[in-house]
């Protein structure tokens, strides 16, 4: 039998059998790779692996090794299917979720007055949940254009309805969780029991999105379906018979465009109505008695009756549990506490169904759902031939993911980003900012002298706070510029492509292409990078990616690089900057090889990922992200760095008897740092002032510069040598991430890993600095 691996580019085949086992197989089925589905091979990644497939109207990536497990048969050459210009027959408006119609039956049990109505916002990845959440709540959560931007839940109340609480959940493809952020969503819906669900459906990819909708209907929780991106569908000539869809699904269906703020009010009205009156879905039984002899129908209903008492005892929705039991979900089966007889009876029923249906248990359930979806879409959805957005994406991808152009284009794009940030836009703005900071310092100095301020307080303000915080503030433009470019890449959908063509390369070091997303975010900031590893479906990949993130030099280290490069190597600034970034990446690769052979043996997770269409980033989103980053930086400058500069100033200005010292070498700080000096002397960083700066860098990397400015009284250039500056640059690049990043590691992996990360990074930094120092001495740097 032919497998998916052996088909040719442009060839369309029909899936016969899905091999493999466990969560991955279930994930294949949930993504629509079910027996009977037609799949077209679009292209291979530039390095020959993974492959890009088109099915159910969207693009999916799959590794060749995984494709080998999927048996296919050729689809008989068929003439281009020409569908008659479908006109929807007029269907009465069912009026679900509106006053007077459904509610008038009197079977709704309203919530008590004053109850805070809790909503869950659930949908596939990258379908616009966070955009809708921001519209509903007026909040400013970050949105992107690759699957898995939201890795954590976010709460807020709907504007104008203070008695509501809506929770934005990470995107999921089904209620069979595959990665840890998907578990967050499933746990929330199952355990937190929201009063209603707002299910957001991307209409440009409606079949796969409705697969989740069907599972949510099985939960028997009041629900509204929001059909998002309707503007995109209609502008391409498509349409949806909303009334008919509402009637068939048995829940209110509201067309919206979250990005353009259309249909939101209607959605809110319906959502509040179904939640307040607790109007549950009119149907959750989608198996057809007449379909394929009714095997799946009889199996579902038979088992449903068999386990009804157990399901009631644990308070879970019956239909959902029945489906999960048939799919052999161990978590659900364990909860039911069935006795041996019941388990055996159940197995007999499932075996009989598999025999009659000719499909295994999971495929049969997935097939039943997709069959209903296809019938529904055939009757209610008029699809455009190919959307403008998809045509545009296809054209751009010819270059950006082309066989010979993808890698050069990536290097060119990243090179351009760094060149513009450090040499053109960022550097220009930084000069202006620096002048501003110097002017304010000068004016303050004059003012303090004018009112005869005490010399100790004067010293604290000018040589402590202004020297420290001021020196860090001037780097704000460079950081914001780099974040601007990173957010443009992320919002456009390019980062998902990078994951696609880097997969083979990353697999060589034991990671999957999906790890590229956290690693690229790591060039911005390690904290969101660590958080974004939640999109990785295996614990092994997550741990390994988190441990490698600190090797990607974050923007907070830029002030250190810029300061030392300007002071010691002004003519080779660009070369040294790029060199530092490359050194971080190369050390990371070496560390990955080490991890692969020791701590994390085994294979990286399969690369199953959706490739979104390219979109032009919305100016508002980009501006919002930049403002958030600038605000975050300013907040750090005026909190952590302010505290650090005042503490450093105090400790270097007084001795242990609380007398002000004239020589900082007699200060408390010098005494403390002296303890570590013997360890750091071999790497050329034995000076107590450098040690203090590095310790303060643990609080926030930017404060390394501010601390040195204070301790060397603004004359770092004359007090340090080029050799020690080079060593300090390398050590700063690689030593422990800041406390915020370590706290994020602790949250994700626990205390032991967080502590191990600190020790490991310091160790790596020490060894690499020793090597680089020897190289620098050998080439004559002194």
């Amino acid at each position: 039998m032919e497998t998916l691996r052996s088909i040719k580019i442009g060839e369309t085949v029909r899936v016969e059998k899905v091999g493999g086992e466990g969560a991955l197989r279930q994930h294949f089925l949930d993504m629509g790779l079910i027996p009977g589905a037609e799949v077209t091979l679009v292209k291979y990644a530039p390095m020959g692996d993974p492959m890009e497939l088109r099915l159910h109207g969207y693009e999916l990536t799959l590794r060749l090794a995984d494709a080998e497990q999927i048996e296919v048969c050729p689809v008989a050459a068929k003439a281009e299917e020409v569908k008659p210009n479908k006109k929807h027959s007029k269907t009465d408006h069912p009026g679900l979720g509106e006053g007077g119609r459904f509610h008038a039956k009197g079977d709704g049990v309203p919530l008590e007055k004053g109850t805070v109505i809790r909503f869950a916002l659930v949908g596939n990845q990258n379908c616009g949940k966070t955009t809708l959440f921001n519209r509903l709540t007026g909040s400013k959560q970050h949105v992107g254009n690759f699957p898995g931007v939201t890795v954590d839940r976010k709460d807020g109340s709907i504007i104008g309805h203070e008695d509501t609480l809506i929770t934005d959940l990470p995107g999921i493809y089904s209620m069979s969780p595959y990665s840890s952020e998907e578990i967050v969503s499933r746990n929330f819906v199952l355990n937190e029991k929201p009063h209603a669900i707002i299910n957001i459906v991307d209409v440009t990819n409606i079949e796969r999105n409705l697969y989740l909708t069907m599972q949510l209907l099985e939960m028997n929780i009041p629900m509204v379906v929001a059909l998002n991106m309707m503007d995109e569908l209609t502008s391409n000539g498509g349409s949806i018979d909303i009334n008919q869809m509402e009637k068939r699904l048995g829940v209110p269906v509201v067309p919206i465009s979250a990005a353009k703020n259309k249909g939101i009010e209607e959605l809110v009205e319906h959502a509040i109505h179904v939640a307040y009156y607790q109007e549950r879905p009119l149907r959750y039984d989608f198996c057809d008695k007449t379909e394929n002899g009714g095997a799946v129908h009889r199996c579902l209903h038979g088992i449903s009756h068999l386990i009804e008492d157990h399901v009631e005892a644990i308070g879970m929705p019956l239909r959902f549990v029945t489906s999960k039991v048939i799919e052999d979900d161990p978590l659900v089966i364990e909860k039911l506490e069935l006795d041996q007889n019941e388990i055996e009876t159940m197995e007999h029923i499932v075996t009989q169904m598999e025999k009659e249906r000719g499909l295994d248990r999971s495929s049969a359930i997935a097939d039943m759902r997709f069959r209903f979806i296809h019938r529904l879409c055939d009757d209610t959805v008029k699809k455009p031939a190919e959307s403008k957005e998809h045509i545009r994406s296809r054209r751009i991808d010819k270059v950006l993911t082309g066989k010979y152009t993808a890698i050069p284009a990536f290097i060119l794009i990243m090179g351009l980003v760094f060149f513009l940030t450090f040499n053109v836009i960022g550097a220009f703005l930084q000069d202006i900012f620096e002048m501003g900071v110097d002017k304010v310092t000068e004016l303050t100095d004059k003012a303090l002298n004018h009112v005869n301020v005490n010399s100790v307080i004067h010293d604290l303000i000018i040589n402590g706070i202004f020297a420290g915080v001021g020196s860090v503030l001037s780097f704000l433009p460079v950081i914001v510029t780099l974040f601007f470019f990173l957010s443009m890449l992320e919002d456009s959908g390019y980062i998902a492509r990078v994951a696609f063509f880097m997969d083979k390369l990353l697999r060589k070091v034991g990671l999957s292409g999906r790890s590229i997303v956290p690693l690229l975010i790591g060039f911005g900031c390690s904290v969101p990078a660590v958080m974004s590893t939640r999109t990785l479906p295996s614990e092994r990949d997550r741990k390994m990616t988190i441990l490698l993130t600190p090797f990607m030099s974050c923007t907070a280290k830029l002030p250190i690089y810029a300061f030392f490069v300007n002071a010691f190597f002004p003519k080779r600034g660009g070369f040294i900057m790029v060199g530092l970034y490359l050194l971080g990446i190369v050390t990371g690769i070496l560390a990955a090889y080490l991890f692969k052979g020791t701590l994390f043996r085994g294979e990286a997770v399969p690369f199953v990922m959706e490739l979104p269409n390219y979109r032009l980033p919305a100016a508002k989103n980009v501006a919002q992200l930049l403002w958030e980053k600038a605000k975050d930086f300013l907040q750090r400058a005026f909190t952590v760095i302010l505290i650090a500069t005042v503490v450093v100033w105090f400790l270097q200005s007084f001795d242990t008897h609380m007398n002000m010292v004239s020589d900082a070498g007699d200060s408390i700080l010098a005494a403390i740092a002296g303890i570590f000096a013997p360890v750091m002397s071999p790497v050329g960083l034995g000076d107590w002032r450098i040690l203090v700066a590095l310790i303060s860098g643990f609080m926030a990397k930017e404060s390394v510069v501010s601390t040195l400015e204070i301790l060397y009284s603004g004359s770092v250039e004359t007090a340090m040598t080029s050799l020690s500056a080079g060593c300090l640059l390398v050590f700063s690049l690689l030593y422990t991430p800041c406390v915020a990043a370590i706290a994020a590691v602790k949250r994700e992996l626990g205390k032991k890993w967080a502590l191990a990360e600190v020790v490991w990074q310091c160790g790596v930094a020490w060894v690499m600095t020793l090597i680089i120092r020897a190289v620098l001495i050998a080439i004559g740097v002194s």
């Binding site: 959940l169 355990n191 301020v453 005490n454 303000i461």
Partner: protein, 45 residues
């Protein structure tokens, strides 16, 4: 010590108190596992 010194000391002290409070608050925000009944990782009531 003149009045300007006293005002400046008070201002610096207030700034430090604010900075410490803000830093502690930031450090507290945890992430979510979706199971609020068994977990208090995010410090939500």
């Amino acid at each position: 010590m003149n009045i300007a010194d006293i005002i400046l000391i008070l201002l610096i002290a207030a700034a430090l108190v604010f900075a410490v409070r803000a830093s502690v608050k930031n450090a507290k925000s945890g992430s979510c596992c979706g199971d609020c009944t068994k977990c208090s990782g995010c410090n939500k009531e």
